[in-house]
Structure formats: C-alpha cells, structure tokens
Symmetry: D2
Subunit: 278 residues, 4 copies
C-alpha cells in the first residue's frame, strides 16, 4: 500500500551522497515530494530531509540507506502522525493556553498526554480541556527529589517531547540527560542577551529598544542549548518592565508554538550546539 | 583546470529528476557545494540550483543535462563573475546612492556600465564615482521617442540587467519586451497595495500602520511583475505623507539592493508571475 | 476619595488648548500621571489623552473642560474598569481562542458577555470557559433577517464593543450604523492589499513575499474602516495558500488582541477614516 | 520676527510642570506645533520636547522657563538648523557611505566637517565627496598618543557630534570624557548580546536565528552606553559568519543613520544609562 514518510539523514559529508540517496529512492520507484539538503562546511556534516511517497517497507529502506551512507550516519524514516508531548508549567497561562487552543483545534500536530505544574494555578485551565493536570510542588524538596516526583509522574506516559511552557525552575543535568534532545524550552529573552532570571527587568534596566523570545532545546548549560526559533518585539522608554513582560508574552507563545511545530514535523536537526531547520 | 559553476535547471516535473541530475554530476566526479530544489506542485514545475566544482566543460555538461531532462528544460551553467548593469534614475538619490557605494566597495557583484537620467539632477553624484551619466530628457517627446533615445544610449553597452533605481516613468510594452526578464524595479509600496502614483500619499490617506517597498521584475502590467523582495516599516499617525516618504526610502534602497544581489547571484527563477528564490 | 481617570479630548485645534486644559487639572490639584497629545495639522484637529489622579467629581470635571474647549469638543472622563464585549465567530478557533485565554487569565481588560456563531463549530470551545454561546445560523435567511436574530441575541446584554473574531460574513450598513465605532474586525490581509474574499489565495497567486493582518473598525465600506493595528509575516515560494493561511493565523490573532487591548484601554481615537493611537 | 524653536526640558518631576510650562508659552502668545512629554516614574524625572513658533527672544524664554522649573532643570531652546559632525572610520565603507549619500543629498541634517580614518582605505570614497579625510594611523602609538593626534585633528573644527561609523578601535575614558554625550557609535550586534570583538562570529557560533545592530552613545564602559536605536535581521543555518557580517551591514548602516537623525533633530534625551526618544 502506498505510503508517505519523512526520511531524515544526518552524517559526515561525502562525495556522491545526494546521488546515492536519490538512487535508492529512484530504484524503489519512490516519489520525492519535497527535498532539502544542507552541508555544514565547517564541520563537514551533511543533513537531508526528504518526503517520499510510494510503496516501501521502512526497515528495508533504512537498511538500503545505511548501506550507502557513512557508518555513523543517523537515519530516520518517519511516517507522519501526531507525536505525544507532556507540558511543564508554573503560573503563567499564555504559552500553555496557546498550545491548548491549537490542541483543541487539532492543529498542534501532537497529543498532550498531561500537564505538570510546580504550582496548582493552571489546573483549572488545563482541566477545562479534559487533560490530566498534576500538581508536583517543589516546596521543601531538594531539586533532585522534586524531579524524581516529576519523572514518576510523566514516565507513566510514553511521549516524544517535554515542552517547558514557562516552567520557571532550573532542571538538573541528571534530568536533562535522561530526556536528551527531548526538552523544548521558551526563554523570555533574545538569547544570548539576558541569560538567567527576570530578563525583562534586565532589558528594562539596560534600556534596550527591542525585546525578544527564544525557543531552544534544553541542555546542561542553562539557556545555552541549540536555538530553534527567535522573535523580537519593539519597545520604548514608556514601558515599565512589567509592561515589557506583558508585551513579551505574545512573542513567547508564538515563538514556542512555532518551534514546537518545527520539531513535531521533524524539521529540526540538532547540529552540535546549533540547529539546522528545513 | 578545476572550476566552479552555478547549474540552474527549470523544467516540467518528472520522476527521477534529482537522481538523474545528480548522476550526471557524480559520473563526472563533480562536487556539489550547494543544492536547492523546489517543485511547484500546482504547475508541476521543477527548479534546481546547484553549485558544482571540479573539472568540466560547460558545453558538454549542458548537453548531458539536456539529455536527461524534459525537452523544454531551461538549463544554464554559469561561472560566477560580475554581471553588467545599467541604471535608470529620475531625481531621488537614495536607491542609486546605495548601489554606487556597494559598487565602489566591490560588494555589488556587478559592474555599472552607465546611468541614464530623465533629469540631470543626479549627474554630479554619478560622476563622483567616474561612471558615465547620460541625461535623456523626456520633455516634448512621445513615450516611444524617449525610449528610443534611451535604447540608443544603453545599447552601446552590453549588459545583463536594467535596474530602475526610482525611475519615475512608465515603460512601454515595446521597451519591456525588448529587455524581457532583464528589468528590475523598486516600487515604493507593499504591492499589491497602492499600485500606481504616489503610494505614500495613498498610504497616508488610508491611515495604514505599516508601509512597504517591493522589488520586482518589470512586465507589461504596471507594478504587476514577479516580486523578488519586499520589506516593511512601521508608521503611525504622527507621520505626514512626506515623513512616510522619507522613512520609506531606507526600505526602498535596502529591498532593491537585496533583490539585486539575489538576481546577480542567479538565485531567482521566474515562475509565471511569481519567483522561486534560493 | 482619591481616584484615577482617563481624560480623552478630541476637538478642533485652537491656541492655548494645552495650557487651558492643564490649568483645569492644576487648579483642581490633580496629578497628571501620563499625557499624550497630537494635532492633525491637515484637518486642524486636536487629540489628548491624559491620566489624572486626585479627588474630583467626573461631572464637574467634564463641565470645566467643556467650558474651555471648542463647542463641538468630544470629551470623555473614564474610570479604568473592565469593559464588556460580545464576540462573533464562524468556524476558526485561533482568534477566539487567544481572547478566551486572555479572558480566563484576567488579562483581557474586558468581560466577554457572550459569543455568537453563525456556525455551531466553536460552541464546545466557548462552553469550556463557561461563556454563553449562541448559534445563529444564516442558512435560508436574508442578510437582514439573520442580523435581526443576531441583534435580538446580543441586545439582551449591555456591551461596549462587538469583536469579529474571524466572523466570515459581511455586515449590512444597517447593522454597522447601529453599532457605530463599536465593531472591531480582524481582516486576514495587509489592507488595503487583498480586500475581499480569500486574501491568502490572492496573496499566493500574486507571489508576495510578506503577508499580513489588519485590525480595524468596521464601517460601511467593506474592509475600509479606520485601521487600528497591522502586522506582517514573511513567506516564500514554498508555501501553498493553505500554508499561508496557517502561518497567517498567528499574525491575525496577535493583531486582533493587540488592537483590542488598545481599544479597551481607551487609547484609540477615530479621526475620520484613520486612527490616532496613544 | 516669527521663528520656530525646539524647547527641551529635562528636570525632576513636580506637580504643575505641564501647566506652568504651557503657561509660559501661552502668555507669550507662542504656538505649540508639537509637544511630547514623559515622566520616568522610577527616577521621578520629567522630559518634555515642544516645538514652539512665534515671536520670542531665546534668552528671555530660557529665563522664564528656568523661573518655573526646579533649579537643576536642564533646558535648551534650539533653533532648527544643520548641526556639525565629524566621522571616525576604519576600513568598512557601508555606514560611512550611507551617511555620505544622505549628506550629498542634503538629507542628513548635518554638515560633515571631516572624516578621520585610522586606516587610509576610505580616503578615496570620502574625497569623491570633497570632504577632508585625515589618516591618523595608530601603528606604534599608545592609545593615548593616537587619540591625542585624533583630537588635534578634529579640534580644529567646531562640531556637535562625533560619529563612529564602524571605527574599530576602543576609545579611552579620557577621550570619552572630553566629548561627553557627543559620541555616537554603531555596534554590530543586538546589544547586550555579543559585547566585544567579532559579534558576527559569536552569533554564528551560538547559532542564533536573528542578528542585530545597536546605535548608542559612547560612555566609559565598552558597548554599555545609552541605546538610541536597534534593529534585527533574520538569519539561518545556511549563513557562514562572513555571510552574517555581510547581511548585518544593511542593518548597521540603517540603524546608525536612524539614530543619527534622531540625535540631530534633538529628539533624544539621555536618562541615566537609557534614552528617552520623542
């Protein structure tokens, strides 16, 4: 039966890769519905995302592609279907709300399995959408203990990504390692400006004329992971830092949702501390 | 001897195009330094721009590529080198000036052969850069007569593109036909809003909150040719239309220069009344 | 008792207006917390928005301000409090959803009295937030008859504004006249480009490189009312018109919410077919 | 004889300032053509920029305004006329070129007295415009010695501002102190991101999706002075840092020219380490 898949290849650059890969598709009679490539010349690394359609067996296709690419090649053949995500939040509703609306509309491209809050503030909003909300308070717990409770909670679900929709706590490197390249965060500044706490206050005090938001993968280094999407909003001297925070929320939610859409459609490759986005 | 070329292919879509084209490059031992493709599904049209390097003869490569692509395929193999352009201007200096500075800096990617003005206003500026300026006044002449004089002037030069850097006269369809897909214009609005004369006044009167500029190929229909680049500038109620005009100039010159860079680097395909830009 | 109010003055320009108005505030011992003025020189019209605080009686203040301004002056003294709105929708959830989330969060600056849908599609979403939803189908009814039913529905509520959150029907001039300067619409294009139906398809077919959204007051002329806010999103040849529609939704909802915030905080003056925004 | 002036007032906030100041204008029969105010609530500081026209003596008006404002008030009454500037450059022509074109066009709002280069690269370009160029090489000189030579050079001119149009050397605090609030710089990043050397390389290595440019007053702390204007340009993984540098140049020159226009029209107040811009 005819099907459609995203073929994602990420390997050392080598002569003839495009030819050899397209030969595999051609020999099997597959259609190429869309094709994007990129070579990182500095690190001699090749990235390719192809949408193919036709009659094929995924395991066989994978085997053939591995046969003609460098040994360490990272190859995925993915049939488009909704991924599964869990959300982590604190008190602010805008980023969560934007995702909930898209979810309710069927536009998100993912099923939300559950929402974890370190506060209980957003329970009502989440439950309006008949999605499980778990309050995992951090008070009186070490960071490790708190995260153990979070993991207990989310590991009951199978999921592809953890989305930090304004989750205001720092994660330990242990937690981050467990969910490597699976955690997406929205930082409320135009990184790397204003790393750390209260970036709007920092922005206000520096007197910038533009503020921003950054969606990125979470790695060990706080606010240092590969950037997926950024956007900016003009501001001026009339805005207090609270005004900037308010104005910035629109940017945050849009950037997070845009980054999430890219990730959920398998359009993002992590390339060291950067991303390649097709 | 090793060389580098841009291979541009534009043809009816067909199965195996990527495979067959990359096979030609592979069989000849050419490196693919960069590759972009696009299929216009609506019109079933395939576009590809590949940078190849290696040892090859351009005529032979062209012949091989024609052998494996549909008959009507439009194929170009272009060695990167500065193109030649002529500029047409009226009285405003900003778009012209931006191009002159890039030209003086060696950054333009083109040699300016000459500048034609229907007024003499910009002679001094052009001659500061030791570039020929020709004043071809239109007063008392029919449109056809005036254009005949312009053509007499520019046809002494060989050139790849005519750049209308705020040339404020409408060209006849005869003129446009002679230089088909060779005339680039900057229109001082966010097309298709405010087609025609004095778009800033129109924008002011409509009370828009954003103004724009559009660089496009010139075709028979005024302000209707394929769009290459656009940009916008926020405005507010405080600006008079003269203020908008002043503010808009920065957008105009940047958009024109950006479009010109795309065209001069053979990054733009015309696709009906649209463009494909790699 | 100390209170705070927005003083909005809109009148023919005259010498000494700032002096005379600030004298009223000064003589009453009021603090000026914020002050913005604008003179439309073309139409010789004066606009002022001042936030005052102190002890005062609204009627008395109004009387004193009328005494020192031109007869036709339009003066309002408004105590900041949530306004009331009704929403009209069709099938798309994004603009509605954005407003519902802000409403649930207490961030909207308005109470939503009810939502009217000419389809029933969005009932579930609205009722999740415990807000009345009324399905007023238009099938088989004349425009006038349908609007009569809508009016019957909304006139049970007192409200300040009607927000068309992707309401896909054209309103009659009768309806518009009844709610003069009270209807806010989001149009899914960068007006005045692509007036009318399916602007994304028009934008796709024109091959623009930027799409936009426009929030405006509704007046008799379709898509011709005073513009409150606009924003744009870059696009390219890879996007189908459905992709543009999807991409454009983020712009639409943000522009509508931004315009709504301006209106609800009494920051917008209508000035003929334009707006003055403080 | 009727004249026009910009009245700029910057003082501690106090009750009745708007009333008292507008009373001065009113009593003298002056027209207010434009008026902007701002109160920095955090620092209790009042800023006002008013365009007045009528018959008045500047010294008398100043005296009256001082009489009704706090003692430490900084008050200026400035008749609009071209200011004088000197430019300092290194090797890159884009920011300089943009200013030269505006100057040649009469659009700059300033007379360029001379250009200082620590390299000789840009002499030809500057001399094309009949503007004095001085090569003040830094090789083999201490920073102090070099700056002494620069000062010797520029102090032959009277000027209002020094514009660093991509001057790639750090100035000593001594130099900065001499020309306090008179030095405008363009930094090739979205400050405070990527302070210091080679911000495009830093941006490339961080993998940001947006780059920027910042025009600011120069103070003692490198890249830390009050920001006047900022702008951004989207980038992606395809750009090398050289590509980013190239793309960034358009932003740099536009931001510098925009900031310069604001400063030259007396629209910028320095407020601690920030600016208030009308």
């Amino acid at each position: 039966m005819e099907k459609r898949a995203r073929v994602l290849i990420d390997c050392k650059d080598a002569k003839g890769l495009v030819y050899n890969i397209s030969k595999v598709f051609y020999d099997r009679g597959l259609n190429i519905d869309n094709n994007r490539e990129f070579v990182d010349k500095e690190h001699k690394r090749f990235f390719m995302r192809t949408i193919v359609s036709g009659i094929f067996d995924i395991e066989e296709l994978l085997a053939e592609l591995h046969a003609i690419t460098p040994k360490e090649a990272h190859i995925r053949v993915i049939e488009p279907k909704d991924k599964k995500i869990v959300l982590m939040v604190t008190k602010e509703s805008h980023a969560l709300g934007d995702i909930l609306i898209r979810h309710a509309d069927g536009e998100l491209g993912a099923k939300i399995e559950c929402v974890i809050g370190n506060h209980n503030t957003l329970r009502e909003l989440v439950e309006r959408f008949d999605i499980p909300f778990f309050h995992v308070p951090a008070e009186g717990l070490s960071r490790e203990k708190h995260e153990a409770k979070v993991m207990e909670c989310i590991d009951r679900y199978s999921f592809d990504y953890i989305v930090l929709a304004k989750y205001m706590r720092i994660l330990t490197s242990t937690f981050v390692k467990v969910y490597d390249q699976k955690i997406i965060n929205i930082h409320h500044s135009f990184l790397p400006a204003f790393i750390g706490a209260n970036p709007y206050k920092q922005a206000y005090e520096r007197g910038v004329k533009i503020i921003g938001a950054t969606a990125h993968y979470v790695t060990n280094d706080l606010d240092e992971g590969p950037i997926i999407a950024q956007d900016v909003i003009p501001v001026n001297h009339r805005l207090s830092w609270k005004d900037m925070q308010r104005a910035g929320r629109d940017g945050e939610k849009i950037v997070l949702s845009r980054a999430l859409a890219l990730v959920l459609h398998d359009r993002v490759f992590v390339n060291g501390n950067k991303t390649v986005i097709f």
